[in-house]
């Protein structure tokens, strides 16, 4: 297992290089530059040159890339042009919020999705199945920013159960979690349901029934375990979404986060910050896929064998 992980990590190096290249040049393709966002009314052209020089923006792109890469390899993500703070510090400040919401939403959508998927699969083809699938479907048809506002209206304004917005304490996490997670439920539930149904068609399930095991034990202890493999795959590939996908939610609920940081940076063409955030996201995504593989291998003894 450790060997497998190590080999996969080594494979990450070229990927990292490619990603860094893509990330760097993509952001420089976007028109506009950060200096305009730095200068205010009244400043002079000399000042502009001075700032360009300070951040190396006056040099060629290739040169800039290698400087950036050089720093990167020594662990330095650079300094935000607009905010004047180290990129790593800015990410470190925002990351916990993203993680908090991302993980909560992921847990919410996974747990609810799996539960719904299991129930729907167990009652496959009946009213219960229809109602659950329909309900979940409805939840996923509403854009999350929209849902966020409606949730605030109902639960914070009318009912007053939770704060309207902010990122203080668990109570302020409830609504964003629901708004961010609701769309994911449909995905998880769908995959779970189909995987459960397919698994229950297999011979070993028939044999489990033939052993006289109660159906819910069969569903939970055996079928679900098999159904979790594709669910884990899907989830591991969505790790980027966990970290940076909640932009609209962050906006509506006035929460800080990586997504918002990145979008603001993008709007201001704060190159080092955009590059840092994107690279971090990309790495998280790749590592997420890796973790997914490992978890999957841990779950499925056949894969463990092949990879050991």
């Amino acid at each position: 297992m450790i060997g497998f992980t190590l080999r996969r990590l080594v494979l990450l190096l070229p990927v990292f290089f490619v990603v860094s290249l893509v990330v760097f040049f993509i952001i420089h393709l976007v028109p506009g530059d950060p200096i305009d966002n730095l200068l205010r009314a009244g400043s002079s052209p000399e000042q502009r040159l001075q700032i360009a020089a300070k951040y190396g923006l006056d040099r060629s792109l290739v040169e800039q890339y290698f400087t950036w890469m050089g720093r990167l390899l020594s662990g330095d993500l650079g300094t935000s042009i607009i905010q004047g703070r180290p990129v790593s510090a800015l990410i470190a400040r925002n990351l916990p919020f993203s993680l908090e919401l991302g993980i909560a939403a992921l847990l919410f959508s996974t747990l609810t999705g799996i539960t719904a998927g299991v129930i729907a699969a167990s009652y496959q083809g009946t009213r219960v199945d229809d109602v659950i699938t329909g309900f979940i479907l409805l939840g996923s048809t509403v854009p999350s920013f929209w849902l966020g506002l409606l949730l605030i209206l109902v639960f914070a304004v009318w009912l007053g159960w939770v704060p309207v917005s902010g990122a203080r304490g668990w109570s302020s996490l409830i609504l964003p979690t629901i708004a961010a997670g609701l769309g994911g439920i449909a995905l998880v539930a769908r995959v779970t349901r189909i995987a459960m149904i397919e698994t229950s068609r297999q011979d070993f399930v028939t044999l489990l029934h033939a052993k006289g095991l109660p159906p819910f034990i069969i569903q939970l202890r055996h079928v679900l375990r098999h159904a979790m493999v594709p669910v884990v795959t899907i989830l591991s590939l969505r790790i980027g979404w966990v970290l940076g996908g909640a932009v609209t939610i962050e906006y509506v609920f006035a929460r800080p986060g990586l997504g918002s940081l990145l979008i603001r940076a993008l709007n201001q063409r704060d190159y080092p910050l955009v590059q840092g955030c994107l690279l971090m996201l990309a790495m998280a995504v790749i590592i997420g896929a890796l973790i997914g593989d490992i978890v999957q291998a841990a779950m499925d003894p056949r894969q463990r064998e092949v990879r050991a």
Partner: protein, 329 residues
Amino acid sequence: MSDLLTVNGLSRRFSDGGLFRKRKVFHAVSDVSFTLKQGEILGVVGESGCGKSTLARLVLRLINPSEGQVQFDGVDMASLSRGDMRRLRQRMQLVFQDPYSAIDPRYSVRDALLEPYRVQGVKPKSTDETVASLLDMVGLNSSLAQSYPHQLSGGQKQRVGIARALALNPSLVVLDEPTASLDVSVQAQIVALLERLRQELGLTYLFISHDLGLVRYFCDQILVMYLGRIVEVMPSGAAPAHPYTRALLDSTFEPDPKRRRSITRLAGEIPSGYDLPPGCAFANRCPRVTDLCRQVLPTLTSQASGHQAACHHPLTAVPELAVEQRSVA
């Protein structure tokens, strides 16, 4: 009769793993040689995974051998260009074990039967007639031409498969367990059909099966394979010389309750093709095993005319069997 097919030292290995994983080599077919005369039926028997299908694919060059040559009608297939090889395929055809998946579910019987012509760029005189005569040849009603595979029974599908194989007038037909997934009553129909076609069209068959009884019934000559190697080559009626062939024979159930008899219990498990023992692959299950068997790989040696076995202690040499025997009933 001339040699239609000559196979010489054919081997095929599959390797597993990659850049960062430990490489494992699987010996699917090892050092197989035989010749097949025009008009003959050569049977290949062996248990699942012993390399029968791989051999079939090698013979038809659907996959490339790791070593060895295949000569078809005197031509070494390795020397052919891609285009020539594709053209040569007209003369050798394959019928599959699983008729259920041998036809594209989106193709009607008619489409399937015309595909050989399309692929080879041959224009049949009249498509309708061609389809009708092919169906007739395999004993199907021409009204089935518009049917899709899911509307046919297994036996019907297999007949379509055979008709498709025969569309381009091949000389050699490789039959890869053509009846394995069919019921006995259907199997009998198909076998009878194959026999009739062989006589009418002068076909040569390479007939693959795991059913020794069927092979002995249908074939002139039998190759017995075990873990990728030929362990015995024998005329259809001969008594087996290799203990493995013996075991195979003993394991078949005679459909006659009066002849209930003891079954040879083989000890041990079939070794994996990944880590083959140095000696005889059957050594760990063989009742006649000696140290020699475990260390030295036996080669095919002649037992009688047209009968060879790869065994250090062939059965004809020692008539008495010291085998654990148990009665079934």
